[in-house]
């Protein structure tokens, strides 16, 4: 009997404690409407270690800590699978949690549009965009094509003769960035031959001549260009990029093709995140984006600065989504 009483006292006090804890977390907005994190912030990378999402999340968490822009600890956890869908579902379940966020980029749009995730960007709370990266279209150094127009002219004459390879699945980033630019140049987007190689053989297939064009991120091309193995016909940036090799890459716009594609990367919170928390994070991300320490990080990985606050970010994403959805519809991949 005594034992039971003791146990129930324990349970009650444990419950009371748990209650306090959650109250603490949700009430930190305080009376004056300001939010301060009160415990460790969890940053989810919806992919494995070593990739773009993971690196961005870890560098951001590290610089936040080192510069003390955010005092609370930030820990990065990996929730891998389904091209991000598993990580998104994980964050989606934390509705209203102001101590949780994840890193995202265009796949957050492509994957749901391809019907492979229940959750898309509109199901989350955009906090801030941080960086921009761009796509590049590369061919072998000894290729007959000298610029994008050479390539696209050939594709207009004989679409079967050109194969494009990328790392992502059809309907995802590497494929759609190419389709978008090619369509603007007048190529029939339904006739583009795209193969996907997710085992690391994409660059190999370009180098040995199995396929013609490699659609990828600019960062992936720099070393190969420096070594004289491939040449970049065009990049998807709006303007010339800065940097040693990067500044030599012509944009599609320069070549008279009025289209661009940005591989944006930013942070999102769970659905229903408190207004005060969003204000807090967007201010902190802006501070981070403007810091010297983060400028060094951008330089190290060849990323471009592209800060957007929560509202700007939502508008930008809406516009992107419409355009991509229409394009997917046109090539028969829309859901």
């Amino acid at each position: 009997m005594k034992k039971t009483i003791f146990a129930s006292v324990l349970t009650v006090s444990a419950l009371a404690f748990a209650g306090c804890g959650s109250e603490d977390a949700s009430n930190t907005a305080g009376e004056d409407g300001n939010f301060e994190p009160s415990k460790t912030i969890e940053v989810v990378a919806p992919a494995g270690s070593g990739g773009g999402w993971d690196t961005t999340a870890r560098e951001v968490a590290r610089v936040f800590g080192e510069t003390e822009i955010i005092d609370e600890n930030m820990t990065v956890i990996n929730r891998e699978g389904g091209g991000g869908a598993i990580g998104w579902a994980y964050v989606h379940a934390k509705e209203g949690d102001a101590h949780s966020m994840f890193v995202a980029s265009p796949p957050l749009m492509f994957v749901p549009l391809n019907g492979q995730s229940e959750h898309g960007h509109e199901d989350f709370t955009p906090l801030a965009n941080m960086i921009a990266d761009y796509g590049a279209f590369a061919v072998r150094e000894d290729s007959e094509f000298e610029d994008l127009n050479d390539l696209f002219d050939q594709m207009k004459d004989d679409p079967e003769s050109i194969t494009v390879i990328g790392t992502s699945a059809p309907g995802s980033m590497d494929h759609m960035q190419f389709v978008r630019i090619a369509k603007a140049a007048g190529v029939d987007p339904t006739k583009i031959k795209y193969v996907s190689d997710q085992e690391g053989g994409a660059l190999t297939a370009v180098l040995n001549g199995s396929v013609d064009v490699f659609s990828t991120g600019v960062g992936e091309t720099i070393e190969q260009v420096r070594a004289g193995n491939i040449k970049v016909l065009g990049v998807t940036a709006e303007e010339r990029m800065e940097g040693e090799v990067l500044s030599e890459f012509p944009t599609a716009i320069e070549q008279g093709i009025d289209e661009s594609f940005v591989n944006w990367r930013g942070f999102f919170g769970p659905p229903g995140m408190d207004e005060a928390a969003v204000d807090y994070y967007e201010a902190k991300f802006q501070e981070l984006s403007e810091s010297e320490e983060f400028a060094e990080v951008r330089e190290k990985y060849g990323w471009n600065e592209m800060y957007m606050d929560s509202e700007e970010y939502s508008e930008f994403l809406e516009g992107e989504k419409e355009e991509i959805a229409a394009l997917l519809e046109e090539i028969g991949l829309g859901q």
């Binding site: 270690s49 492979q116 194969t163 053989g201 199995s210 070393e223």
Partner: protein, 500 residues
Amino acid sequence: MDAFQGLLTGFQVALSLEGIMFVLIGVIVGTLIGMMPGLGPISAIAIMIPITYGMDPAPALVMMAGVYYGAVFGGSTSSILLNAPGISGTVATAFDGYPMAQQGKAGKALAIAAISSFIGGTVSVVLLMLLAPALSSVAISFGPPAYFALMFMGLTAISSLSEGSTIKAMIAAVAGFMVVTIGIDPQTGTQRFTFGNVNLFDGFDFLIIALGLFAVAEVCMLILNRKNRSLSDDQKLGSLKLSKADLKEMSGPVSRQSFVGFLLGVLPGAGATIASFISYIFEKRIAKNPEEFGKGSIKGLAAPESSNNAATSGAFVPLLSLGIPGSGTTAVMLGAFLVLGVQPGPLLMTDRPEIFWGIIASMYLGNVFLLILNLPLIPYLAKILSIPRPLLISLVIMFSLIGVYSISFNVFDLYMLLVFGALGFAMRIFSFPAPPFILAFILGGMMEQAFRQSMTISNGSLSIFVDTPLPLSLLLVALISLLVPAFLKWRSNRLAYKQR
């Protein structure tokens, strides 16, 4: 800078006090991680990425490389002792290593594995040093048609991986093919057999299948036959000493498969797992007594063990000289390079010779350390077999669960481990062999993708497989290996008929 001068620079890095220390830490961590069933080098390297922030890149990368080949070295231990593959590259090690341990020759099996690993590792480092720049052209010579032909060649071995019924082997292989199609199809982005379940979108990780079909199924069998109190029939660990005859027997496979493994390692996408299987099949095909394979053959143990370690160094060729990661582990390594501010690729050798050659030189050292560390440990490791059965069974189950959970921290994977454990158990009971299932699973996915990539490139014409010499010759080898045994059988039948 020529290779010799480069290597001198490399040894200056590797033989500095710091270098020696980090190689040692790397190989010790690697061996330990490799020994745990299911825990592989990917997670170990991933954990190290944040730890090495701000470190000098050369020692940091030397350490991570040590973790990688150390894990492949150590992965054989649990394959041999428990039939629970330490890492995916050591699944084939269990085929003959585990029967040997059951026959009371655990000590010998571990010694053979260690020596084969050492030789495979060292031979391939020499090849890596001499040929890395030249081999980068081999690494890129394989396009989709050649990959298809290579995988097809590997698959012709299904019949030789089976004991007894060929039909049962084929059924197992078809089941393996079916399982590998589950998930999002990379060529169309369509979901196949996922039933809309997001956990199935990426398909199954190889380790779930390997641990289910081998470790969990084995545990079920052990529970069923609980007469023996410990795992080994013969409780003795057996002598560690290898006789001259043993050494002679393993010399052939080890010397051949060190080269085969290295070359397969160089090809992006092939890697240690495929290399170990192909080497096993290769040796069984040319052996005078193939019927001994699968029952504790020294050759059958030495071949995959030398091959998987050789493939590990081979995988550094595309990574270091092209910046192409050929496997999951090297992809994480590539991430680690970038975090440390080093760009692997064609210019690494000239831009950062101390890193390029430092890693290569450290591998010599690392392999020596591994041998010195592992040989004296064998008697202690082999004592695992005398752990009382109930305890051992619980440990194997626990480690398998931890290993699977650590792949992507997804509870769903644990249920799948149990499903494949049940499947493996049923296959044992009804004597369906597991190796063809595993082989079809490993090769089938890549084979299908390569086939369909080829078809897109050629606009649907099959001639793409015979137009160029590389895929053509691989397909011819496959054809010969299918026809020759059939012809021999037909001839011996005819002779027997005539004599009657």
